[in-house]
Symmetry: C2
Subunit: 388 residues, 2 copies
């Protein structure tokens, strides 16, 4: 059944070709001092940097920059950015990039006016911000995380090898996001499919709990079916606007809290994958792909009703004449075929992990409740071993 919940998601989304034209009007709502935040510089090659800075200039903004935000933003980088934003007396943070850049901007936004140890407050004790929050806007150039319409932020502490996500309250959500699917067309295939699997897994993480047939699960199935459809088209023709636009839109709804409404979630694939990411610095979506099937095959007996439903409603498995377990397993086989079709990385060895790391990976894995099975340390090690 649908448990009690509060839903509020006020982010304004501008979707489609040339939707950057809305940036100027949005910027009018905020103060003069803008910090422009971006990643490794691809936005300088594809022209988006020039387009955005032209609008900032036209809007009369005083701009400071934080560049070089890495795929797994580090605490060290966060602290540097906070100093830049403080020195600039930032009124507004404009993130131009993918989920990491947007996550990072949100972490800066709750830290600029925060006193004390940011890591301890937000990523160990998971406090809500009590300080003033610097508003964030986002121009999305890469899809996958849904960060453009949620209050989540994942930061990696390289000293403690912990990659930790905090979902803040809705005051931390971006005020607006510009979603132009054409910005995603220049992404390499590897990054595109990693993003697609990240999206798919976000839906799975929220889908695999409970035994009833609630609306959130039906919406989740719709999103998964849309993603399967579009991903197969995009995998063959990366420039197909229709497919890429549907992938972008699915990504937003996969992780903006909607499909989690009334459900419990444990996000265990992310806990396992983030441990791998913290040790290997591998692309996030690929860390999820590499641990998913061993994990799902491990928990299948504890959630057989849902894995059967997944097989039938998402993968079109015909249940006639089969046991529930057979149907459920066939669903995961279909999923594996699709993953291989997309050329996803199917084991952690290829990402740079090896047997000697298993215990450390287990140390870095947060164990969560809310799914079909609370994993023991032995089970975690076993899943990592099966993922090698």
């Amino acid at each position: 059944m649908l448990g009690n919940f509060t839903y509020c998601n006020p982010t304004r989304l501008y979707f489609g070709k040339d939707s950057l034209e809305n940036l100027e009007d949005e910027l009018k709502k905020y103060g003069k001092n803008v910090v422009l935040i971006y990643g490794g510089g691809s936005i300088k090659k594809n022209g988006i940097y020039d387009q955005v800075t032209a609008i900032l200039r036209k809007s009369g903004k005083a701009v400071a920059e934080i560049s070089g935000v890495m795929p797994n933003p580090t605490l060290k980088k966060l602290l540097e950015g906070v100093e830049i934003a403080r020195a600039h007396k930032a009124d507004f943070l404009l993130a131009v990039g993918g989920g990491s850049v947007c996550d990072y901007a949100k972490a800066v936004s709750v830290s600029v006016h925060c006193k004390g140890d940011i890591w301890d407050k937000y990523f160990v004790k998971f406090f809500e911000p009590v300080c003033e929050i610097v508003p964030v806007g986002c121009v999305l150039t890469m899809v996958g995380t849904g960060s453009e319409m949620n209050a989540g932020s994942v930061i990696t502490n390289t000293d403690t090898k912990m990659k930790v996500g905090h979902v803040f309250n809705d005051s931390v959500m971006p005020k607006f996001a510009v979603l132009d699917p054409t910005y995603t067309l220049t992404l390499p295939h590897y990054q595109m499919v990693a993003g697609i699997y990240d999206i798919f897994n976000h839906i799975c993480e929220q889908y695999f709990s409970g035994e009833d047939d609630n609306t959130s699960d039906y919406i989740a199935e719709g999103l998964m079916r849309s993603l399967l459809h579009s991903s197969r088209i995009a995998n063959k023709d990366m420039l197909d606007y229709e497919a890429r636009s549907n992938i972008m839109w699915t990504a937003t709804w996969a992780l903006n809290t909607l499909v989690a409404c009334g459900k419990s979630t444990d996000w265990m694939v992310h806990m396992l994958g983030q441990a791998v990411g913290a040790y290997t610095n591998a692309t996030h979506g690929m860390t999820l792909a590499a641990v998913s099937l061993p994990y799902y095959r491990h928990i299948l007996p504890y959630g057989i009703h849902k894995f059967k439903r997944f097989a039938v409603n998402v993968w079109g498995v015909d249940p006639a004449g089969k046991s529930d377990e057979e149907v459920a397993k066939q669903g995961l086989e279909e999923m594996e075929k699709w993953m291989r079709e997309l050329s996803l990385v199917m084991n952690i060895t290829l990402l740079g992990a090896d047997e000697s790391m298993i215990e450390k990976l287990a140390d870095s894995t947060l164990v969560m409740t809310g799914g079909y099975k609370v994993l023991s340390r032995e089970e975690i090690c076993e899943i990592f071993r099966e993922s090698l």
Copy 2:
């Protein structure tokens, strides 16, 4: 493909049993003068009125009341309410009821500070409000319209026999809505199933356009499947909380703009049904049910791809060995079976219309574009005749 669009839906939703406990904190955000708006008095019988007024008293609010808002709120009633809100110098409007009460509250909210002819401005010329908007909150007691999370308002002009809906901009959306499924449990079966069909038709209105496979359509299919599942349970056991809570949540998402994103829509079933409503004052959902199948059978040849998809993905029709047309038609047959199972009113004669009204009904029907077929006057008359 997904056309360009802007999405913003800032309404905060409190969902679940006892979610009224959030009202007190919400009221703190607004001024002292509250206008409480409700319908025919059922909230006095079931205790919700007492609960709400106790919270208003505890919050120290000065309360005026607009009661007796009818299922199809009239312009005359709107103008009366605007006078009450003006006299009370309303800071906040609290709608307690179903979609009609919530629609009405939004119409009051854009009219209190509006100069000039309200009907002409908002329901003939469809202007956006340029005046101050009095914020609205909603305690929902009946599901169907999605009015609790959208900016729509339908008002009936009894002089001109026009029932017209205006979807305002997002500043008109309720600031919050309390959705406690237990409030809907006392509704008569007739009203419950009328609401269920209203929800279903909202999704259909947005689904039946376009020929591609976009994310909005996949989400729409998920919502429809959830509704079919829950409606069959609720039809047998109206007190099933799980089913009723899923129906309530589906209703909200069926009409809060999400499944229309990137799509064109014509809302022709509503245009036809609203004409019937303006002449018969029949329950809204039943007017839609009574005209739907003649309408859909009429436009099926123009959108055969989508009607086929509807048959397979929503109704589980097996397409093997059948022509597209056969599959598409079978989908509508399955839909008809479900409608009869719910005891929906399947013709307009039972709602009080007759042959002599056909021309007048056609006069009252707004002809819209955006669907599979722009109807001629002859076609409209034919559909009404087939609906008798």
